[in-house]
Symmetry: C2
Subunit: 348 residues, 2 copies
């Protein structure tokens, strides 16, 4: 089966996705019968559209040289927006899938939100790694997907390459989750773990995380807990069926966690982690993100600096926990590819 | 959507499945749009077939009283085999699904194997919790399912309610697994953990496991490692795409693990677990089941007595581990229900 797709966002995840499409091309075709053709790609420079498909490697090389995709030979179109790309390419080239990996804009979700809406309304499936549109408009996007009979997948938005969303949505579809706990932000877990295990100060650990590519230049979204809160909102909607907003989450970051607190917790045999928690309460859930003292035996307590994890406490499927070691953004890109396969490749 | 199904095997898992069908009926219908009608059920006493559906609760009550399903009022048929039930009910009542929860017979796989073949050949989907047919005839059964355009699901066969198979087959479909490690047998993990943590002798721990319902009266299949080996063969076929047989697995059980070895491992900061391992080697995998000294930080080292777990080392999705706390056979039954939903309920 040939699947013609469009990709918006060529940062860490979007580029890694293109690398995976290239690296796994033969396997996808021979073993899974899937030929992915990237008809268009867009970044802030503009877009490139080619009916017979762009060369993923060439796009990656352009980005590696610091150029935008608008510079793609012959097919680059400077200034063409992602939204315009979708309209132009869908009408002309029968694209069935939008891959959305643009940066999270938590103010209004744009340009991702508008592009996802446009794609769903045109009957295209959507696979996104961008949290913002989901946090701001989950019910509307899900409704659009249902109305148009297409799928909206977003496994890459929570805990990188860990199938936290898929596990909860799919493997626990018949179960009731009464409690959910996650270490879903890599930056803060890296910082806390380095502080606890290696005696680094907060500033040292942060600088180290930035040097290793595990933290942004402006780390406030991560260290103040909002990135984890965003992921919690997505899990609440998708796994718990609970229509939460960011306002419903009690959020506390890691900026006030001191070396003294970490050594004190260690002395008590505990570990401090930034835990996103959903706890059933009345008809809904109490949602929080906060530094939490975990018993050493807690499945999230032993996570190393490059790990994230999730725990689902259920009525009929026991307590299920899962974790990932994620050294680079490749696993997150692989979660987008996983979602693509989930849409187009039927398991026997 | 109404799905008419047949269930064979009314032991621990089959009965729990019926209880789940009853308990989750309203949720399945209202939230997922699925009405499960159990048209027939079979055990060693015979079968019961009713066009309008058996009452799951009544079947469970019969079994609780020590009676067979052949005693089901009006519709019980003493001596009718599961195979005869499939032939009779499919032809007359449009059943689309066989649920197979009969005991594992590793000699010839019967009666499960023949019934699964019959069901697939008739165009019925199959969800099974029975390892034996898969261990003995995986390629043939998968081929039958493909030929007839139906699905063969068996998440319940490995590590109880942990979606170990689903996670590997589906979430890692594009990934290459170069190493896989699992604690997939509850009995042996219970025994080893109680010995290590509570200072029990092997005999005490085994007796305790039997009293708690975590071990069979004849525990040899478990403690000699063969149950774990069976599960490893299933994972090899389904996740690794490696057509292994039991003969390919180097198997060592836990009968020679002594209290002294456990205390020695603890002194070194390690834990002894019965680990099923697949390690890439040449064009294939080296498969083994053996007591293994794990570093304390290993994801399987910290598993408690009622836990099982799996670790996938991959090329593009990092290292993904998952574990379950399983107190009863309910999670295993829930894995069958999960598979049913995976076949019949599309996620948006």
């Amino acid at each position: 089966m040939q699947v013609r797709c469009l990709l918006m966002g060529l940062g860490n995840v979007g580029r890694r996705f293109l690398e995976l499409v290239d690296r796994k091309r033969a396997m996808l075709e021979l073993e899974l019968g899937l030929e992915l053709v990237v008809v268009g790609a867009a970044d802030t420079s503009g877009a490139a559209i080619c009916a017979s498909g762009l060369d993923p490697r060439q796009v990656v090389q352009l980005k590696a040289k610091g150029q935008g995709v608008a510079n793609y030979p012959d097919w680059g179109q400077p200034g063409l927006s992602a939204l315009e790309m979708i309209k132009a390419a869908d009408a002309a080239y029968n694209c069935r899938l939008l891959l959305e990996a643009s940066p999270a804009n938590l103010t209004d979700g744009q340009p991702g939100l508008g592009c996802i809406e446009e794609a769903l309304a045109r009957g295209m499936h959507v696979v996104t790694a961008n949290k913002a549109p989901l946090v701001l408009a989950f019910p509307r996007l899900l409704g659009l997907a249902r109305t148009h009979g297409v799928r909206l997948r977003f496994d890459a938005t929570v805990a990188g390459g860990l199938p936290a969303v898929n596990l909860g949505q799919r493997d626990l579809a018949a179960a009731h989750v009464h409690r959910m706990e996650g270490v879903v932000n890599l930056t803060t877990n890296y910082i806390l773990t380095r502080m606890a295990d290696d005696g680094l100060s907060y500033d040292e650990a942060l600088a180290d995380a930035q040097a290793a590519g595990h933290a942004e230049t402006d780390p406030s979204l991560d260290v103040e807990g909002w990135d984890a809160a965003n992921k919690l909102v997505i899990l609440a909607h998708s796994v718990l069926g609970y229509p939460a907003t960011l306002d419903d989450v009690s959020v506390e970051g890691i900026v006030d966690v001191t070396a003294k607190m970490l050594s004190q917790s260690a002395a008590e045999g505990k570990r401090i982690k930034l835990v996103a928690t959903a706890e059933e309460e009345g008809d809904g859930y109490r949602l929080s993100v906060q530094p939490t003292w975990l018993e050493a035996k807690h499945p999230l307590a032993q996570l190393g600096p490059k790990q994230m994890g999730i725990v689902y406490h259920t009525d009929i499927s026991g307590v299920i926990s899962a974790a990932i070691v994620e050294e680079t953004p490749v696993p997150t890109a692989s979660a987008m590819l996983r979602d693509v396969l989930d849409i187009f490749v039927a398991r026997c």
